[in-house]
Symmetry: T
Subunit: 144 residues, 12 copies
């Protein structure tokens, strides 16, 4: 089981960025927790971040045949990127959408996810723990 | 750790009801899996289902002081019940919203959750496994 | 042929309730006419009314295997209940939606039926005679 | 009792046209069934079809004093023709709106009928049998 | 003069529930104040609360001939229940809509009342004192 | 000065048609009054009515070089016909839009005129006298 | 026959103000033409202009018993003033709405008139000649 | 306790103005009743009316330190004036919004109050008695 | 290969009609070019124009078995005719939608094509050359 | 260079009014700063405030030939006054729109400025310093 | 004649990506066909693909003076990129918008093209053959 | 005082690009003017342009601790980029939004700025002089 974690714009600032909304854990600390959780499940993890929509699109494209599941925190691009949506639909790798904050309780424009309809499911609002839940979900994606 | 699982209208039909959308697992089988997962976490489970909006409201009210976390699959009432929303806000017990199907990839009227803004977070689209993820999320709700 | 007639909130007041809109026939008188019409078609009739959304949901659920057709006048719940819609879709018993008044010529919020998309068809505007037409429609539901 | 059946654009193609949506019965076959049903009720039937909005308007205008009830399947013009609506309101002959398919479960633009507010009622979704129900409804239009 | 006070979902939690929004007075304390105010006006009071939409509908129906005025705090159902609206219109007992908080200064979805158009008037935003004003309004409902 | 008066669908029913809205004057009587008023202004009148959108389009097209002003009561087509709008723009003959009733005080769908933006101006609400005002306006269309 | 002409904000600038839209005739010149036209009809004219919404409201109120018809070019207030609308409805003097330009072919926000529904009719787009047509319309307001 | 009653445009016409909607009591009669009711509560009353938005704004501004509560029937300006809203927010004197008619059962544009969000509460629909209720509410504004 | 070219309302005016928008080529000249282009591809051309929606509907109906491809410039009916849409769907002949002007850069109401969803594709904005491209597209409709 | 500063409703309260939003500087203090800044640029300043929409309209009208630039803080009228917009367009004096607070980060109804489309530009959010920037902008309005 | 073909995000996946929607032809195969078709017309082709919005913007900028026509399949960016629109408007090179699938028959969010208003025209729905039609259109862009 | 000027897509084309809208000054000339103005205020300037959304995001991120104020002309990304908004909110450096043209008087889609709510203020419409005003605003950002 190979899981590709992709993180969108500004997630490299985690820990410093609006800690009331996003918590004080850094992305590196989240990556460490994810690797630990994945190891328990004998899953491999590839963990990346980019501020460029097109780079995220490229990484999704390259996942074909190299990853069994994509876990995608598209951050701001969640609400504006049809290109990400098309990439997910194009490669056919099961993709899990995650968010640190509960996007449904924030500004109106964050309620709508353009990528949700082509994802397996969505986990939102559990802070850094959303990533750990995503490891579990990824490993069990074909179970239910 | 005491977790109250509440299931809304028509979830008693699980297994028979539109299996393409909701899977073939019955609610009883889900309950068994939930109890098993909870036991591993030393968590107690109260697991109920009702077709009555008002009864669900009452159960949430009664959770105060008796449950540490509520896991709520409000089904159809997710999209129409302000009463459930008000009940969650009133009792102040952390509540996790779950769905079997990915509500964001279905009919437009299922995209909007009236209860999401007062919940901790939302787990949607993983079939019966959404419930197991909710056990993990409930146990770790104050971690991140 | 077993037909289950379900009547939603406030229909127990028929005859007294806004007679300009709903006519002066009581629900009991309508039931009598329905039974008479059904008898001619050798059809059995179960005729009920409830003000509780959840009870109507339950009755639809129980129709599985016990009724060949449901005739549903959901009254106010027509426009607000996704739970009724889900119940109809879940049990798979052909359902005919009826209304006494012509809902399409009344307030804007009565034009939209949440249950119509999962019903066989809709008969609206013929007063108590809508019920008699529904008997005919039910008996012939698989004819055309 | 004289009933004028008016059929709008493309209904002359019935039987060939998208049989999954509209069934395999031709308009001629429907006319035959309608005549048979009307005869039992001692009702006379005038049965016409036109692709021209203006011709349908003219036929409705001419119904004054010649028909007791109009049964109108306006097809596509249901959703775009205020002229038909005005004609119905102008002549004052009770008009019953019918549709073969359940327009409320199809594309969004078919949900709204411009003529419904000036009709007695609407029968929709019963295929060719919608016409037979309309005969019953027409004969009983002043009963309830 | 007999006044029926009906309270909707979650109002049984008053005093504990979000005191910043709803105040610290309990429903029992409000009832006591209402009875005291009514007594001064020689009015009888029947004071009830239910979380069930259908039960509130039933109580409104039963008010016919037993109450001269209904005072209704429908809480969450204010914004979602056409059934309550239809019940009020059906029984014809003058009904006064009240709210503890100023619903017009809260979330968008609380601004619209489905029952307001069939009520005599609305009193909103005066906390528990809204109930006392309603007593005055009820007693004088036919004065102006 | 040659003025072409064009009347849209159902205006042939004037006098009988909903007299509360449209008055009791027949179209023939209006034509007589128009001819009388035009004669005083030494203007010639061509006065027609059609229920066919396409025929009205054709008449507008033919006005080029034969009429100095078109006075158009498009009736129901006012709100649905882009074809009429395009015809007016195409021929370049100054066109005056008129209505018997005040369309701005009727149903919402009558407030919007698709042809208004390509007309010189609009006269609405003066009953049959709208036509007489249009004669004055036509004769003076280049004055101001 | 006494006609009160009321002109709203910025109409005192006529002639200088955006002549492409409003023409080069001044308000004084229009007043002169109006007086001339009225004299032919033996009608008296009171002709005023104000930039103050409240002053226009007051003038409408004072028209009661002093004017037989009000001709109102409310200019910008046409689209924003419910106070003017209420004043017209309150005094019950027949009111004719006029505009120099064709408001229906300008910016979207000028298409909607808040006062139209309580006026007899609307004359729009004929430049200064709109005022002369209004004289005719006023004199004949009860004719049709 | 000093209460400032402010009345908006056209309220000076009360009694004559659309009595079906607003009743037959004049503003002077209402003022007399208000004074009588206030006297019983040992409250002083300042009672004014203006058709000018800016004058109402000024009166609200001057209330600072001179009135303990403002009771505002802004009439038409309720729905169009942000200036009134800003004035209320600026002076910080508790303000009670009142209406004679039930604005929520009238035209759509009267349902939305721009000033409600900055007022303590709203009393609407009780005719002249709304003013008396406002006296009670004003005297008790800090009680609940 | 038989191609049926259908032209909607006002296209008979091409060359004279708003040449800035539609160019100076007449419909006859376009037909000539189309025939020339079709001849090179050994395709037969039937080329028609009508201002009547119903006639265009009839021509599409008759295309069944007589044309291999329909090229349709529905002009104004593009945006208002569900009847044309239904006709195209009913006959099942591949249909190519064309426009002279770029409808997507004109008025808002021209952006939406009701027929596009049932056509193979759309060619818009190339003036008369849109027709030549349509010949190429028609001949190659099954290639890609 | 003569600059006319116009201030709309409630700006006379500056310093006392919601200091969190508008700051603690009074309008007189702002005027002093503006005069100081203008003097450095050899510009004359006329500085006024009114709560009356019509008075602001009049002042804009009178600016013609007397001011080279208008700086307008229309406050609440920014979002509701077409009359101000028309006045600006009518006089043709370059106008700069300013605001103390950032209107784009406040309530939805403050985002839309009706006057912006006829102004040179907008400066918003810099508190009292918005006025100083406007002096600079006014002096340089024809530079870029 | 030099034609610049630009392809947006995910088009590098053509052939593998959702073949039901986009066909089985790869982008390299399309390029070959385009070169072949261009050669017949003596046109040079520059053919590129990028997943980066900013890179596509840069390529459009660089086209000035180097390409006579741009053919742009912006894919997902069609619906979200104002930057592409601005680039096209800025460089002034005639641009033809193309799509493989019929965007007007797919999801609602694909119906709106942000770039269409600044393009010459649009060709959509002919699969890979859309590119060949674009070669023809490019070569003839100034003909009609 | 260190000021970071960031320029979004297509601003590198300034001077050539639609000079009617954006003026004839190049970005290099603007930079020179900005440096000159900043020098007078003893402020350092870092001045950059990018067509890549992600690069602009990165530059904003890097501003933390290196710039005291960001001046951002996000051009097209103003209306589509939540990523830029999130970056501004994340780094906490005061940011001033500027535009050359008056975005509020252009196309509807340019009226809404996604970044405005997290900026200090907005300066728009003064051409290249908007940049000079921004220097003043930046230097005084904490003054008012």
């Amino acid at each position: 089981m190979r899981i590709l974690f992709l993180n969108g714009p500004n997630l490299n600032l985690l820990g410093q960025r609006e800690p009331d909304v996003y918590g004080r854990t850094t992305l590196a600390e989240i990556e460490a927790k994810v690797r630990e959780a994945a190891q328990k499940e004998n899953a491999q993890v590839d963990f990346r971040q980019s501020n460029l929509e097109g780079e995220l699109v490229a990484w999704i494209q390259q996942a074909k045949g190299k990853a069994d599941v994509i876990v995608l925190n598209a951050a701001a691009y969640t609400h504006t990127s049809i290109a990400l949506r098309d990439a997910i639909a194009a490669v056919g790798v099961p993709t899990i959408e995650i968010h640190l904050s509960n996007i449904h309780s924030r500004e109106e424009f964050r309620h709508k996810s353009l990528i949700a309809p082509v994802c397996v499911g969505q986990i939102t609002g559990f802070g850094a723990y959303s990533y750990i839940l995503a490891v579990q979900a990824a490993v069990n994606v074909n179970v239910t």
